[in-house]
Amino acid sequence: MNVKMTLNGEPFSAETPSDSLLVDVLRLNGFTGTKEGCGVGVCGACTVIVNEVPVASCIYLAALAQGQDVWTVEGLTTKDPALLDAFVEKEGMQCGICTPGQVVSAYALGIENPKASESEIREFMAGNLCRCTGYVTITESVRTYLASK
């Protein structure tokens, strides 16, 4: 299968088996910022944006991305520097393996509910697990990002 999409604003195409998942297409083509954690759509490390909504790329068939507008952490942090700045400033990370997913979800929340309260932030971001931090600095990072919008 040849999958064609707009990836981080640029045309992208790749030859891949038809049962491929989007996370594998991205990672095998150098977009390793998208991480695979749990592999079952729970942890959030593989979150990417497809047509302005967040998607678990580990359980998203690459075929469904055909012709769509896909953004990964690499593209989003370039396009929206406030996103990167918020996580750097508030240190919303430790080991960093969940961080790209947290960053992409923060971007998604910025689209869905830019005025989110603390509890709405926690509820939305609950889909992105972190084992290191206890979530305080991540919540702060998201709040800082939303405030910049």
Binding site: A56, L61, G127
Partner: protein
């Protein structure tokens, strides 16, 4: 494995006529099953390019039509669903996480038929109907007859659920409880969805109580609901309904609770959810 992307229902049905073929809505459950080799289809039919399968509108003043590929995110934010079927918007907002809600569809939720999921009991209690189209024609199947067994539904492999219609009932009171005593981000130990109408005296005219997570499919607690109809429910009657619902449940042991605990929680949460409906 072949992939096809039809642009019409007719085209999709034609593709589904092939052997060992599956229709894909959001594909989250199918992707998981593919990964675990629980299924090895020869062909997937993607429905995301079929425009007539999407959209949410008022079929009549008494019915809301929800296209099968409507996502849970769309159900959360649809002004119509929020106004007419607030329990459905609420329940959609509780499913999984934002990534799942972005892509998972209402059609997928009922076809997949996982009894632990939120939408099956909610749609059951709302009296929803699935519209099924297949090679031998079209039919409407009430959800009370749709869930046949664990992950097994009335829609055949060569058929398609094109839409779900939900009656819009003036003055209907609804409440959905998902009881997650461990992590909030988990399937409910039990889910209780109730829709009822009261007359001006507070007498129950009509009630449907549906349970999730306590049988091989989402189920209706028909007898429990019948106890309420024609009465202004007293604490005793509510307790009797809770007990009836618990007796009718058929839960199994798992990490989210033992059989006996889930049964006891059906009792507690049926009572509490009835009370929440009565309180408005």
């Amino acid at each position: 494995m072949l992939i096809s992307s039809p642009t019409s229902v007719e085209g999709a049905l034609e593709e589904l006529g092939n052997e060992n073929t599956l229709a894909v809505g959001g594909g989250t459950s199918i992707a998981l099953m593919l990964k675990n080799r629980l299924i090895e289809p020869d062909r997937l039919v993607l429905l995301n390019k079929v425009p007539t399968l999407s959209g949410i509108d008022e079929r009549t003043s008494a019915t809301v039509r929800i296209g099968a590929t409507s996502t849970l995110l769309e159900l959360m934010h649809s002004p119509l669903v929020n106004a007419a079927l607030p329990m459905l918007s609420f329940a959609s907002s509780r499913v999984g996480n934002p990534r799942v809600r972005s892509v998972a569809t209402i059609g997928g939720a009922i076809i997949h038929g996982d009894p632990r999921q939120d939408l099956p009991p909610v749609l059951l209690s709302l009296g929803a109907t699935a519209h099924i189209v297949g090679p031998s024609g079209e039919r409407d199947v009430p959800l009370s007859e749709f869930f046949l067994g664990f992950m097994e539904s009335a829609a055949g492999e060569d058929e398609l659920v094109t839409e779900v219609t939900v009656p819009r009932v003036a003055g209907q009171r609804t409440h959905y409880t998902r009881f997650t005593p461990g992590s909030e981000d988990d399937y409910p130990t039990v889910g209780v969805a109730i829709a009822m109408t009261l007359d001006s005296e507070g007498t129950v005219r009509d009630a449907r109580i549906a349970l999730g997570g306590v049988d091989s499919t989402a189920i209706l607690a028909t007898e429990a609901a019948a106890l309420l109809v024609g009465h202004r429910p007293s604490d005793e009657l509510i307790a009797a309904a809770g007990q009836s619902a618990a007796e009718g449940a058929n839960p199994s042991d798992d990490q989210r609770g033992s059989e006996s605990y889930k049964r006891a929680m059906v009792d507690v949460w049926t009572r509490r959810t009835i009370s929440a409906c009565l309180a408005g």
